[in-house]
């Protein structure tokens, strides 16, 4: 017998087949960032699931991360819904990113109805993606959204403060945006090992 190999490293490397392995979320939802897609088990966003984008403050690239996806989805028939965004989306800026604003619907609501509205939109099956900025979303609320996303075959993306990275989350994918240096950390991805290195995510050059 050769060197002793730790069981956990074998499992993490997905070299051992486990009877009840979680199925890899099938995905046809590239993020538009090839280096990120390359490390994600589904090759992009987990389809019909909830994903989390964590960032330290506004304006550190959290929208830049999702705009290629919004651009792709607004080219289709189902709208992309923004629920209680923290600021107004700048039409000119979103257009420069290729987004078709005719397919972007914005829902104005108070905090307590935001989760309800998000669930309705995700569950309805008539939205391609639902983007949500909740202030207080507990584990139970996120779990509901995950189920709704699955029911309505929609992409759910929740934007939260990076302090929540410490807490467990039912989201299928958790990404953390770091501004300086510009890079992305995959904090959780269902169906695969979490990559040990960050994905470069350079700031926008003007």
């Amino acid at each position: 017998m050769g060197a002793v190999v730790a069981l956990s490293s074998l499992l993490d490397a997905r070299q051992v087949w486990r009877g009840r392995a979680a199925p890899i979320p099938a995905g046809d939802q590239p993020t538009g960032w090839p280096e990120l897609d390359a490390v994600l088990p589904s090759g992009g966003w987990p389809d019909a699931s909830l994903s989390e984008v964590l960032s330290a403050s506004d304006g550190t690239g959290e929208l830049r991360l999702v705009l290629p996806t919004v651009k792709r989805l607004t080219g289709g028939k189902r709208p992309v819904v923004l629920i209680a965004p923290p600021y107004a989306p700048c039409v000119a800026g979103w257009r420069q990113a290729g987004v078709h604003m005719g397919r972007v619907q914005i829902v104005r609501t108070v905090e307590k109805d935001a989760l309800w509205a998000a669930e309705q939109c995700l569950r309805s099956g008539s939205c391609a993606a639902v983007l949500l900025w909740p202030h207080h979303a507990d584990d139970r609320a996120l779990r509901r959204l995950q189920v709704a996303a699955d029911t309505g075959r929609a992409l759910g993306i929740v934007f939260r403060d990076r302090q929540h990275v410490e807490h467990a989350s039912p989201a299928a994918l958790r990404l953390e945006v770091e501004a300086d240096p510009g890079q992305l950390w995959v904090r959780k991805c269902r169906g695969g090992a979490v990559p040990s290195h960050a994905v470069p995510f350079p700031a926008l050059a003007h």
């Binding site: 403050s57 959290e62 800026g93 829902v107 939109c121 939205c127």
Partner: protein, 468 residues
């Protein structure tokens, strides 16, 4: 060849009352002067207790101590009669009212709704869902269908040849003949329609006049039916009295579901939708609370109308008890069903986005769901609005992804300039003049911002947006 369906409504008055106050207990309808009230209709529980139509109310009270006696309301019965005609109008453009019955011509609509057995099932399903007992028959003439419905349920005579045979055994008393004839004929030994039709016409005319012959000819179709065609009204107006004073909105939900269901049935009948309707909650002394339900596009789905009305009713604070509720819909535009695309990306059971939007608006407010487009105004604060155009040429200068409602001062160390300046000098025409140099900057926290300062200065930074 024509085919007429007859829907006989044997318990129209009772069913109309029962659908407002569902009860398992005995209930009778009474009419007549106060000192001699007579039972005109009784539900199964009352009949089981021995109550009969025609019985004096006093006699019924001797049979049973506890039962409900509701005054017979002819106006309400007529309303339900016309309402069901409006529902039947969905299936045919030729609908007419007969006493306790509705007739409709179905041969022209069978291409749409299928052959008679299927057509009949559809009608029965509708009436059962609405809560009305019914008998349904079909015959080549409306009067024949009406007579057959008086004899039994479910008979269908689909062609002229079998019509005479079907009418042959109908007893004279059930043939809906002129009163004088149906009284006299049995004593003359004529007991069925077959025997009557075999008699010489001259003799019948001498004895009973032309009216009897005309009635017989209408039965067989030798004479045109001469019906007054029913036209659905252009306003839906439904009112119900509550059985007791209602103090909280939750108790209005059950009647509301019925009313919106009736509205949906009516809309399906006239092949239209509703864009706006009003719920009048009626209090004492004719005081009314109005709840307006407005929609962005015409709808007619029962579930959706109920949900939207409920969404508007739920937050209402009742200041006094409600005695009755009325639903009035005047804005009834054509309904265009949402197109289904062969290559639709949505899941099979998806809710149309329009319905989702209505659901959100019902709870969050009328302007809660909106889109943003650009205006022609270059000032960032006014460059976009819900009324703006969602299509147009792209801006060539860098624009952020988040726009602040109002610029905020940038605190802390001076930012690093990444791009700029872009001078915006505009608005001189309306007094809100703007002259600013815009830059893309990086703050000390690593955020990329769209910021401006006064022309040719590089301090007093104000943040207008984030390149998030």
């Amino acid at each position: 060849m024509m085919l007429w369906a007859c829907i006989l409504l044997p318990h129209l008055a009772l069913d109309g009352v029962l659908r407002r106050r569902p009860t398992e207990g005995p209930l009778v309808l009474v009419s007549g002067p106060a000192n001699a009230r007579t039972i005109v209709s009784a539900n199964p529980a009352a009949r089981e207790a021995g109550m009969r139509v025609g019985q004096k109310l006093a006699a019924a009270q001797a049979l049973l101590a506890q039962f409900e006696a509701v005054p017979y309301d002819q106006a309400a019965v007529d309303r339900w009669h016309r309402f069901l005609a409006a529902v039947a109008y969905r299936y045919s453009a030729e609908v007419a009212l007969f006493p306790h019955a509705i007739v409709l011509e179905v041969s022209k609509s069978m291409g749409l709704f299928g052959p008679w057995p299927r057509f009949e099932r559809l009608l029965r399903a509708d009436l059962t869902a609405l809560g009305f007992a019914h008998r349904i028959t079909a015959a080549p003439t409306p009067h024949a269908a009406y007579v057959l419905a008086g004899v039994g349920d479910g008979q269908a005579v689909l062609d002229d040849h079998t019509l005479r045979g079907a009418l042959f055994h109908v007893p004279i008393q059930r043939a809906r003949l002129p009163e004088r004839a149906s009284d006299a004929l049995p004593s003359m030994g004529v007991r069925t329609l077959g025997q009557l039709m075999a008699l010489p016409r001259d003799g019948l005319r001498r004895r009973f006049g032309a009216e009897l012959l005309a009635t017989l000819d209408r039965l067989t179709g030798d004479l045109p039916a001469g019906l007054e065609a029913y036209r659905p009204p252009d306003v839906f107006d439904l009112k119900i009295e509550l059985t007791h004073e209602v103090e909280n909105v939750a108790s209005l939900i059950f009647p509301l579901r019925r009313m919106t269901g009736d509205l949906a049935a009516y809309l399906a009948g006239r092949d239209g939708g509703v864009q706006r309707f009003v719920l009048h909650l009626e209090h004492r002394e004719h005081r009314v609370t109005d709840v307006v339900v407005g929609l962005l596009s015409p709808e007619r789905d029962a579930g959706m109308l109920f949900e939207l009305a409920r969404g508007r009713l739920d937050p209402v604070q009742l200041t006094e008890p409600v005695l009755g509720m009325r639903l009035v819909a005047r804005d009834l535009p054509a309904f265009v069903p949402g197109g289904t695309d062969l290559f639709d990306e949505r899941p099979a059971n998806a809710l149309p986005f329009e319905q989702l939007r209505e659901r959100l608006r019902a709870r969050l407010g009328d302007d809660a769901v909106y889109q943003l487009g650009s205006t022609t105004d270059p000032r960032p604060e006014r460059a976009q609005s819900p009324e703006g155009r969602t299509e147009g040429p792209d801006e060539v200068h860098p624009r952020p992804t988040w726009l602040l409602e109002r610029p905020i001062p940038l605190r802390g160390p001076a930012p690093v300039i990444l791009a700029g300046p872009e001078r915006l000098e505009t608005g001189w025409w309306d007094g809100a003049e703007v002259c600013r140099d815009y830059y893309v900057v990086r703050t000390s926290l690593g955020q990329q911002a769209w910021a401006f300062c006064p022309p040719d200065e590089r301090n007093g930074w104000m943040i207008q947006g984030w390149f998030a």
